[in-house]
């Protein structure tokens, strides 16, 4: 079997009375793209935020690269976070900074002794690979939603992460831009050799980018496997309707 890079067991999380995750088990293997499906409010964002320690789990275990997240000291957690790229649902670009400064910000604070030239080469290279070299001096407010997403992805790639977490990379984008983002995600995996979790509502995206899909329902993963396995053998009505809704003939 392939090597596990992240592993969740019996993970639970509630906010007050609201039980969001209720015993989640999920493995992420090295080099795979895992797609997480689930309807709005099912706890997908919460799940990956726990994975990088932005939120604290209630119970269960979360291991990333062999380390239990909740037991790490801040320093160790930060070291681990550098190996994880997190692309936020709404891009989360620093809106007081230009695109260049947005990308430089995490780089110069985490990698010491870079020359101006090395920094520029790295930034320009990444902007090229997300297809936005001309935006380097723009402010985030001047970018479209799709452009922001791509800059957000480029910014997380600047620290060469081994795991990429994409929170709804295609939400709210037109179908053509969606295809572009999907291609970008696949391309990132090939070029940077990452393992990734892609959260989405969008089955086209799931089919295009995912090696495996996992469906989050009622705070648990009800079906995990290859795309065809999950949807062709689906017994749960809700999984079926998810499929039908996305591919209306």
């Amino acid at each position: 079997m392939m090597e596990k890079i992240a592993e969740m067991k019996g993970l639970t999380k509630s906010f007050g009375d609201l039980k969001v995750l209720q015993g989640v088990d999920l493995d992420l293997y090295k080099g795979e793209n895992l797609v997480v499906l689930g309807k709005s409010g099912s706890g997908k964002s919460v799940l990956i935020k726990i994975l990088v320690g932005l939120l604290k789990k209630d119970e269960g275990s979360v291991m990333v690269m062999g380390k239990e997240i909740s037991e790490l000291k801040l320093k160790e957690l930060n070291a681990l976070r550098l190996k994880i790229g997190f692309s936020f649902q709404n891009s989360a670009l620093y809106d007081s900074m230009t695109v260049r400064e947005n990308m430089e910000f995490p780089l110069v604070r985490n990698v010491k002794n870079l020359t101006r030239k090395e920094i520029d080469t790295k930034i320009e290279g990444l902007l090229d690979s997300v297809g936005l070299p001309q935006s380097i001096n723009q402010m985030p407010s001047e970018l479209s939603g799709g452009q922001k997403k791509r800059i957000g992805i480029a910014r997380t790639l600047i620290l060469n992460p081994q795991i990429m977490l994409y929170d709804e990379p295609t939400a709210g984008l037109d179908p053509i831009t969606c295809v572009e983002i999907n291609t970008l995600i696949t391309q990132v995996r090939e070029e940077y050799n990452t393992s990734s979790i892609v959260i989405t509502h969008d089955l086209t995206c799931a089919k295009a980018t995912g090696d495996r899909v996992a469906v989050l329902l009622d705070g648990q993963f009800k079906a995990v496997g290859e795309f065809s396995e999950v949807f062709e053998n689906a017994t749960d009505e809700r999984i079926k309707s998810f499929y039908d809704y996305n591919f209306i003939q």
Partner: protein, 265 residues
């Protein structure tokens, strides 16, 4: 289950609970400032940028207000003094009032309005749009980068702004006095400086440092702990101003007591 029992408790104990957890939260927030300020990275560039922003944002309004306060206060004090034929005391009276109380207070209140609201809004919108989370996941300490820098900047800038306001208020006063009492500038300022002591200037600077710190830390706290959604941004900005102003008045009262004790003791 724990939540259910919590729900059933009377509102008053629940609110009391909320008040004290809020207080503990705020205390921890302030404590963190004093823990983090000593360690690198020091972010000098960001501190400078914030100092510039603070000065730039509040300068026009402070200039105008300082000047007008000087003129108006002089004008309004004249009748009472002239009843005793003591209008020659105007410069000393104005000087004491401006340096001891009005300069710091007016500056701090304006800064609370201009700077406090913008810091509160900026930080809470960064929180709402997950920019603070984004810093955290790229192993950057957002408290240090956002809070420590801004609090240092407001703390350092306020005394400077206060001195500037004092100067403009005295200039305004001079213009009024010179027109009515035909006093020369040098005579006016000799009287001004004779009236105030080292203790006056020193306590005014210390007081301004506290005002600046208060504006910075309160606004950052309100921004950092704002509720989700765009509504939270407005609330945070508003709460920053209200809370800062409230605390500034309390500090003013305390400093009055302390300085009086020193002066008489």
């Amino acid at each position: 289950m724990a939540e259910k029992t919590y729900e059933r408790r009377p509102t008053i104990t629940k609110n009391l609970d909320k008040f004290f957890t809020g207080l503990a939260d705020a205390f921890a927030f302030v404590k963190r400032f004093f823990q983090e300020i000593w360690f690198p990275p020091y972010e000098f560039k960001e501190i400078l940028r914030q100092c510039y922003e603070i000065g730039y944002r509040s300068l026009p309004l402070i200039s105008l207000t300082g000047f007008i306060v000087g003129i108006v206060f002089t004008n309004q004090s004249r009748p009472s003094l002239s009843e005793f034929g003591a209008t020659s005391w105007l410069p000393s009276l104005i000087s004491v009032a401006v340096v001891r109380a009005m300069g710091p207070l007016v500056t701090a209140l304006i800064a609370a309005g201009k700077v406090g609201s913008s810091i509160g809004a900026e930080i809470s919108s960064m929180k709402v749009t997950e920019q603070i989370d984004a810093m955290e996941v790229s192993a950057i300490n957002p408290y240090k980068y956002l809070v420590v820098t801004r609090v240092i900047a407001t703390t350092l800038m306020l005394p400077i702004l206060v001195m500037y306001t004092d100067f403009l208020a005295l200039m305004g006063s001079y213009i009024n006095v010179s027109q009515n009492e035909l006093v020369s500038m040098s005579t006016f300022f000799v009287q001004v400086f004779e009236a105030i002591s080292f203790l006056d200037i020193f306590s005014s600077i210390i007081k301004s440092l506290f005002f600046g710190f208060t504006i910075g830390i309160v606004s950052c706290y309100k921004g950092y702990n704002s509720t989700k959604g765009t509504e939270g941004v407005g609330k945070a900005a508003n709460a920053s101003v209200v809370m800062s102003m409230f605390l500034i008045f309390i500090e003013e009262l305390l400093s009055l007591q302390i300085v009086n004790a020193i002066r008489n003791g």
